[in-house]
Symmetry: D2
């Protein structure tokens, strides 16, 4: 009983490919792309698609840039054609003229990507392609539209309705587990033994979203600790010597690490759905759970403290005040909170529940936030309302305690910051 | 281990839904759609999406028409916005202006469909929605663009790379098997016993494509008989009294029935991929197979015979001559073959191999083709070349025998015919 | 992903077998059995085992009898050898002498059965072999010891710890479902549509035990109806026109049919474990369930009524009184209840809860019990105590109502009856 | 879809257990065992069985010894009862008297073990129990009969027909893989990276037998390298820097490590079946494979060399001669080969094909065999014949080369050696 199953006959693919390869090998990439888009695309397309993707995999940076340029220039938008088709549609709005307009308004590279996607493993390779493209983008802003098209397509393919939530545990395939080790972005996993401590004990859970066409690759995952009461330090949570709790005895589920895995899917958000579904699944399986809360980093705290001319000092209370003020008051130019993790959880409808000094004394934790961590609380009775307030005007929900803490300090300004869903 | 597995927490959905339903129930459909597209779409979207789809399911024909009109008018293309965005992009081609153009050029109804798709079962409901729309289309051609958009989206979602080929046999879930009975379009399946004769014997195979988001619904399936030599009659193939051959002893795989299952996916072609993959899988599992051939109906033969002023008569040889002439010479206005099944297999690279009189004496077989059937041969050495010839100019590959038969008769003209992938 | 999976390479088996078959074909059965038990048993044993089982399958009744005689005579107990080994063990009780005694005390036919069991499908064939043997037994009581040995071995192999409980529903393989149709022993299933009404609606459940080595064969199954309140008639339960209840809304689970499937496993009891585990699983999945009860036939009622010189008449109350008296007072010579279904449920710790006249008006229901049915109640608070009382002295637990009913009638005697776990 | 699936309701077990535990906790082990064997065994048995097993798990060595003594003395053979029952059977050989004899001849501890086995996980615990017992045995030979009974029972339960062969690869559950690391007995696996090199490359395979009731525990596994030609050194085979071969390009399958995993199943042989089935499965999947061969240690070589008064020296040729002579000529008192690995493969029908000096230069390899390794060849055309010769009189099949090597040396005698299936 295989975990994944090979959905396509790789043996056949191998033979088929090698028979055609000599010919394909001699053709240029533009020719091959034209072929794949052309009339014979459907019948002999699989071999061509396979070949283009294989060739892409072997490309060096310069060749990749050339390929992206091909997508940008030869397969880009043709404004005149759009205008013409639009005029024709307006003159006679029919199925035919609409189809012609839609074809004109969508660059050929989108159809190219769809046709490449017909061979096994292609989806993962296209995600990798976008990852490469994103790395190229800063130096080549003219490739922006290519990225827009890829994101649009991937966003449609990785639609929430197609994702599958799977538990990750010590029975999971090693192939998947090694990716959890590699992708953990918040609290590093050192070794297989460390991993085991995150997924095997009775009071630990881990869940990941997968896409059926990329079954070996988690898209995003969340690590959960089941506890009695809300914990105030990640050291305690991850301590080797702690004794595991029976899951049935826990009253609190702590989301202490959320990691996005696929750089090539940047800008396509899974985190909100993930949290909602994990809350739902845990509630059903463990009726004793009453509180759903995070133990989250505050990645921008120390930088803001410095910019605001403050000092963190050694006093835990003062540290908490700084953190509270930062989370509630420090804003970007568009009035949204400056802290990216805060934006994520507040946008989901959580509230700032509590702050803990000395809660993450790892080098990274100290550097980012002076060791302070925050609990965002997902209170199902308030989620919708919190979300509305935030979405309508960046209103921030917080507990009275945190509000008081924030008012103990008065200071500075906040600046804009880069977008994107952070690891949380 | 369940065959399907419930990928989403239905318990949670139930509670979540009912809590919000009272409010949702009171809102109008345009309001609900606006909500789903609006800022709160991501957080509270699942309940709204669920509610819209449920409401759609309960609609009568008139209400559905109203809903389609909403999609056509309120969520359609806005030419001025397109023009404006296009101009802005041309003036300053950047990621931002491109994104704005892409957003303007894609009607809002596409994003609506993507957001509806986030709840379990939504994909199947959207396919059903397009089916309803297609039925409405003849009387409401103004809805054509809505259909174009839905087809475009579904075509991207049902990309070959996302489909899974599964064998259908007597171990398959009853839920799937009853759909095979319902969808068989070529040689009707009368009962569960009849079905068993198609899928259980050692010399029978059946394969279907599935989409992971619609695991209970086959998209297309093919029935295969394993034989010694190429059979000349479907009666023999399906005979109750025949003795089953050991699969290892067969040298020929006969594709005697291909049925499309989802009217809502009309225009999205799976048949070519299906045949290619089944050939590949069977070759690997049964190395003794040398010949891959169909035993196909000739649905347009009798009508053409009448139009051409011919008669079929009782002479098998004359019947074969008529059929050969029809398949090789009868053309549509665009020079493609008049017979839809012929177009499908020739387009895939098959050749017209042989003709058999008295091969389908069912009422339907006699009415359509006077009982004549045809073998299309998938000869792997010639597929690419046949396909090229056909794709380049509707050149028809045929065996010398069939060519000779076709020349015995001289006659008439052919006419245009409706498109679409037939059941074969 | 196949439901069953072929655990052994049948292709290889085929070749291996045919290469050796000519030689095997020429040997006598006693020779083959000696071979299998002999020194080369482990290496070439699979082919010999396969061959013996295949040959057994092709045997007619006479040949089977000859084979059983071989097991009885040539592979039976050798009292002198037992005595000798026992004396040796007593003289010097060591591992070696104990092993020699154990070997002497166990007839060779047990080891033969274990060696036959090494090939795929053998377990099912051995179960079938015992079924054949049981049919032969009445006429050939001298084969009793052979049956004892087979039962002993099968009882060890079909140990509760090796059984797997699986839900049977409309997603189950057709191959399994057709066996449910065939094996239903209480309320006949007429057709696939009838079956669907038993397993598909939201308020129906079906569970079966399977053994991993016989994955296509249910061993025993129970059909459950989820209801509000305890039902008093099987007609209502199975009515076509009834509206299905949402499972979450049910407060009662009714076990209305329990069927043993394998005649070859007679005397090995699964029913008690099955009920206990189904109660446990349903309780966990549907916390709303409060009552677990049967709606059971009373197979011996009419016969007893006649023997006791009573008449059932038309008065429902009188019918219930007869039934109550029969269940509570009619005894076998060993003081156990006369009704086999009563013995089963009372032995499991259930109590006689209620009686319903006109509850099964099928021809069989009227013939057996004049249409009366009984609810046995599994009250978890009382199961252990009820069971103790029954096991200790056939004390029968019953509701006060049923006790009163039983006292309304005074009469007769009870007689012995055949043993064995009935279909309930 | 979980790899293992929890086949029994653990939630229910927990509740059920704790409710009954107080009472159980107060009873003595002899009482509990009597209960489990007694009349209430079937109904309340699961809790009692669970409790006995749990209590066993917590026992220290002394308590375990006491428990084993209970099995030996209170639940052992009662010779008088056997004699009496045997006499009764001889006087009147019927089903009843036979059943009584069988019951008397089988110590109660066997039925106890069967009843313990009804709860989840029990099978693994009983295997562990026998492991404990085997460790106790040397100091307590009087427990030999208890071990004989346990082995007899386990041998019946772990019958070849119930085992499942599964591939072990990088998609296998971490839980299983960590056991492969732990159980590898021939060439130690250092780390997860080392493991990955054994199971992930295209030219590596690993297969293990599992029992359905112990799905987390491999019973025996074999590691296979796919090569071109027969390799002469394990260093080359396991080299980090070697380039992986495409499986289709291999002509040879090398079985370079076979490890038994369960000390508690000592004396129950799986190795022969494992090799035969792996040969069959690989042949089917990779038709290019022509040669099936081992690369095996020669564990007893150095000891024999010393005893024989020889020296290995540095000359590779001389080393091979010593090894050849040892394998072909050194015998135990019963004339079987002295080397345990040789006995295993020769008994399976393999032949001694070639010898390689410097083939295992690990400390262990040098200590055992001076670095020499041997290829045993499984030639399907000769297996049956080789096996017959060996089984009939310990005739050893060898290639002419190896025979010549063996004759270059003349010397000594061989001695008896311990039995048991070695790690190979």
């Amino acid at each position: 009983m295989s975990f994944f199953g090979d959905l396509l006959s790789t043996v056949f693919e191998r033979r088929y490919r090698s028979a055609l390869e000599p010919d394909l090998e001699q053709r240029s990439l533009p020719e091959l792309c034209a072929d794949l888009l052309g009339r014979s695309g459907e019948v002999s397309g699989a071999a061509t698609a396979r070949h283009i993707l294989d060739r892409y995999t072997r490309m060096n940076e310069g060749e990749r840039l050339e390929f992206f340029a091909l997508l940008a220039e030869d397969m880009g938008l043709v404004p005149d054609a759009v205008r013409e088709a639009l005029a024709a549609f307006e003159a006679d709005p029919s199925s035919q003229t609409y189809r012609a307009f839609a074809a004109a308004a969508e660059p050929k590279r989108q159809e190219l990507a769809r046709r490449l996607n017909q061979v096994p493993g292609a989806t993962a390779q296209l995600v990798q392609m976008r990852r490469d493209l994103l790395e190229t983008l800063p130096a080549h802003p003219e490739l922006g539209p290519v990225d827009q098209d890829l994101q649009h397509l991937l966003s449609s393919w990785f639609n929430r309705g197609f994702l599958v939530l799977l538990p990750i545990n010590w029975e999971s395939p090693a192939e998947v587990l090694e990716k959890i080790i590699a992708y953990e972005a918040v609290h590093t996993i050192d070794s297989w033994d460390d991993l085991r401590r995150r997924v095997q004990p009775t009071d630990r859970r881990c869940f990941a979203y997968f896409h059926p066409a990329m079954p070996h690759e988690p898209l995003i995952f969340v690590e959960v600790a089941l506890t009695r009461g809300i914990p105030g330090s990640v050291q305690d949570l991850l301590s080797d010597s702690r004794e595991a709790l029976a899951a049935e005895d826990a009253d609190t589920a702590v989301f202490y690490s959320i990691s996005n895995c696929q750089a090539g899917l940047a800008g396509i958000s899974f985190g909100n759905s993930l949290i909602k579904q994990v809350v739902a699944d845990l509630s059903r399986d463990l009726p004793g759970l009453e509180i759903f809360v995070t133990l989250s980093p505050i990645p921008g705290l120390m930088r803001w403290v410095q910019e605001a001319g403050l000092t963190m000092g050694d006093d835990p209370e003062h540290q908490r005040q700084c953190a509270a003020h930062y989370l509630l008051q420090a804003k970007r130019t568009n009035s949204s909170p400056r802290d990216p993790v805060a934006r994520f959880h507040l946008g989901n409808g959580a509230l700032v529940h509590d702050l803990h000094a000395g809660a993450d004394v790892s080098p990274n934790g100290l550097a980012q936030s002076g060791g302070v961590m925050v609990n965002y609380l997902y209170d199902r009775a308030q989620i919708a309302q919190n979300h509305e307030g935030y979405a309508g005007g960046y209103q921030i929900a917080a507990s009275p305690d945190v509000r008081s803490l924030a008012e103990m300090i008065t200071t500075g300004q906040d600046q804009g910051q880069r977008d994107g869903e952070p690891s949380l």
